[in-house]
Amino acid sequence: MRAGSVLSLSFLLLGLAVYAALPSGGAHEWEWRNGYIYLMIGIVSLLLTPLMGLLAFLIFSIRQREFTMAFLIVTLLVLLIGGTWLIHPGH
């Protein structure tokens, strides 16, 4: 969780710095676009961090033989992934 949040925040700060410091267009267009990509990576990794945390928690629960917890985590994962799939505009 901590690694995920640090990674996300680093990308967000880097992206915002690039985006704020460089003007769009001209010689800096490529770097400016990179700033936008950093921001997207930051946001996507931020959104994925709770899922990664949940997976780590699942492994921990199975190792501790806490099968009720493992079942609840799997249910939540299925709901999150299934819900995303169901609500997708292309579905």
Binding site: S24, I43, L47, T49, P50, L51, L72, L76, G83, I87
Partner: protein
């Protein structure tokens, strides 16, 4: 540079500071601030608020989990229905007219103001808010837990009451969160505390674990339906994280009654401005 990045960070910071100081979360301040002050579309403001919920959840859960304040079993049971509500609420939010969303948000702000007045009265009457929530007996699902009282230092047990009702209300809370981009502080915590009899600190920590997934479910819908501004969201996340951190530090030094009064004025004034915006 066409985007006012500095203002996004500033709004996130102020919302995070004020929100964490009174325990309401940043969304209730951030969304109206963005729509009224910067003229941002309310749907983009809501999606940014939902993503920042994920960020604040990650930050706070790591702290609360260390202190063993998060009740993971209860959180996992409740969040399973909360995210269903959040998916549904945000899906409705995507298709709702912005003015309708503004009216709903104003209603929520008035509700938050009432909750704050209630808390203010309770704190004045009872002195110690924590000491009321010690042990509860019963429970359909048999969910129980322990927590250490800060004042006495003793470990006390509790059993969660009316779990099925809590599950039902969680779906509703998730729908409100997904539709309006607000966290658990305003709905989930009072619900767990009043209906479930969960000690306020456990409820607050468990809610911060839950809002990460609620925010994820809501944000992903707005993200897929293109109601999303990358630069604004990033600025707000940075601001709100800094604000939440500073807010938790300042809260210990400032009179909580004064804080609540300030926020009450802010909420009521913002409600008035939102209504005016809808009418114009």
């Amino acid at each position: 540079m066409s985007d006012p990045i500095f203002f996004y960070i500033l709004i996130g910071f102020v919302a995070g500071t004020l929100g964490s100081m009174v325990g309401l979360g940043g969304g209730i301040i951030m969304v109206p601030a963005l729509t009224i002050l910067l003229g941002v579309d309310i749907k983009s403001a809501i999606s940014a608020s939902l993503i920042s919920l994920v960020a604040t959840s990650i930050m706070s859960v790591s702290v609360f989990a260390k202190k063993e304040l998060v009740h993971f079993k209860l959180g996992l049971i409740l969040v399973s229905t909360t995210i269903v509500g959040s998916f549904g609420g945000s899906y409705i939010g995507v298709y709702l007219d912005p003015n309708t969303l503004m009216i709903l948000f104003t209603a929520l702000m008035i509700f938050a103001a009432i909750m704050l007045i209630r808390n203010l009265k309770k704190k004045t009457e009872d002195g110690d808010y924590e000491s009321q929530t010690d042990v509860h007996v019963g429970g359909f699902f048999g969910i129980s837990g322990k927590y250490r009282s800060e004042k006495s230092g003793q470990v006390q047990g509790f059993t969660v009451r009316r779990v099925p009702l809590n599950i039902g209300l969680s779906t509703f809370a998730g729908a409100i969160s997904g539709m309006l981009g607000v966290g658990g502080g305003i709905i989930q915590v009072p619900m767990m505390h009043i209906v479930g009899g969960v000690p306020i600190k456990i409820a607050s920590a468990t809610s911060s674990f839950m809002i990460g997934f609620t925010g994820f479910a809501g944000a992903i819908v707005y993200f897929m339906y293109d109601q999303f501004d990358v630069v604004m969201t990033s600025g707000l996340i940075i601001g709100i994280i800094g604000g939440s951190y500073s807010g938790s530090k300042i809260a210990m030094k400032v009179n909580s009654k004064f804080l609540i009064m300030v926020l009450l004025v802010v909420l009521l004034y913002t409600s008035f401005r939102m209504i005016m915006k809808v009418c114009n």
